[in-house]
Symmetry: C2
Amino acid sequence: MSTTHTTPTTPRTRDSRATREAVIAAATKLMRLHGYHGTSLDDVLRESGVGKGNFYYYFKSKEELGYAILDQLVADFLARTLEPCFADPEGNPIAQVHCLLDRVLEAQRGRHCVGGCPFGNLACELSDVHEGFRGRLAGVFSTWRERLTRAVGDAQARGLVTADCAPAAVAHFLVASLEGAILMTKLTKDISVMEQCVAEMKRYLASYEVTA
Amino acid sequence: MSTTHTTPTTPRTRDSRATREAVIAAATKLMRLHGYHGTSLDDVLRESGVGKGNFYYYFKSKEELGYAILDQLVADFLARTLEPCFADPEGNPIAQVHCLLDRVLEAQRGRHCVGGCPFGNLACELSDVHEGFRGRLAGVFSTWRERLTRAVGDAQARGLVTADCAPAAVAHFLVASLEGAILMTKLTKDISVMEQCVAEMKRYLASYEVTA
DNA sequence: TCGTCTGTACCGACTGGTTGGTACATTAAT
DNA sequence: ATTAATGTACCAACCAGTCGGTACAGACGA
């Protein structure tokens, strides 16, 4: 598994980026299941085949690795889940929200209800205990909500949604509900929980839509 | 802080129940903040003033302590949060659901957004990692949902709620949303998040109510 | 074109402290 | 005098992090 000295499985490229990324990839995978505290550095090192000395060449501490993982996760989330739904500025904003809900549902199905949401997991584990992580995670969810608030606000401006709708409150509720649904799905290991929750979220949204 | 050998702050009663409960109380408090993995036995022992030998007289392992905590937590939750809302079989079921939502909101306010939901926390940390805890936690949420399903079902039977309402789906969604809202409140440390989410949940419920 | 020098990339043994758990002596109540 | 309850010393495994050292590529002077 690990690249022994002479055999260049990794072609001995001395590529600084490859090692870093291998560590981050392994740690992301392990921490998604076992959490931050539940994942030891040795676990990460074993999984990635990177030596301890080398690890500390790239990362100052386990904490810094955590931040690096989070940064990577945020970039992926924005590029692969959030933005694709809201790409078209002319599209129906409510349909775009539906798109997001469906994407999250399908992601859980693809993972067979294992792993949950990495942001939610870290938020749950660290919010009360590590201010640095708390702040970064709050930022992630904040940009997520911003995206939704803008969409709902657009819909309202176009008269697709009733005037008594408070876009920011809707965004807060949707994000929270999605996180809760992911958690309950991971707990029950039953994708139908997620399906029911998404369906109810759509129904909730429909209660704001202007039908006439 | 800890009761040193001779000073009977705890009046040296040699009460088997007292020691057990002191351990459970201390562990409940610590684990709510730091999680199961993040709380060491020594932390619990220090906090409760119980010696290690004594601890292992009452508990087979840390895992068994976890189960004991969970049992205690479940009993408290049923008696102090869930049942009081649904006590009156004649009452308006929808009002009873509102009562529950308000109770959860006030609990978060009282805790200053710290600690989250102990069941949600454990579910997040352990669902993918410890089948024993996963099963027990799934049970807790199952009885919680049952209570809500029954209430919504009753409301439907009385014609207070539309026929297209699926009580079990509503219950799933409410519980998930509540858990998500608690998590987001713990993350943002902002009680208004919880307030907005509860308000939206009520609005969601209203979309099912028969207004005519 | 050879040798040396320098900086990056990497290794695995080791450290001090913590982990969950055990062994066993001692105390207090019956 | 038993026995239930408790304290203390201890253990091996594990933890994050450090250390001294190595391998090697490219730069540079001779």
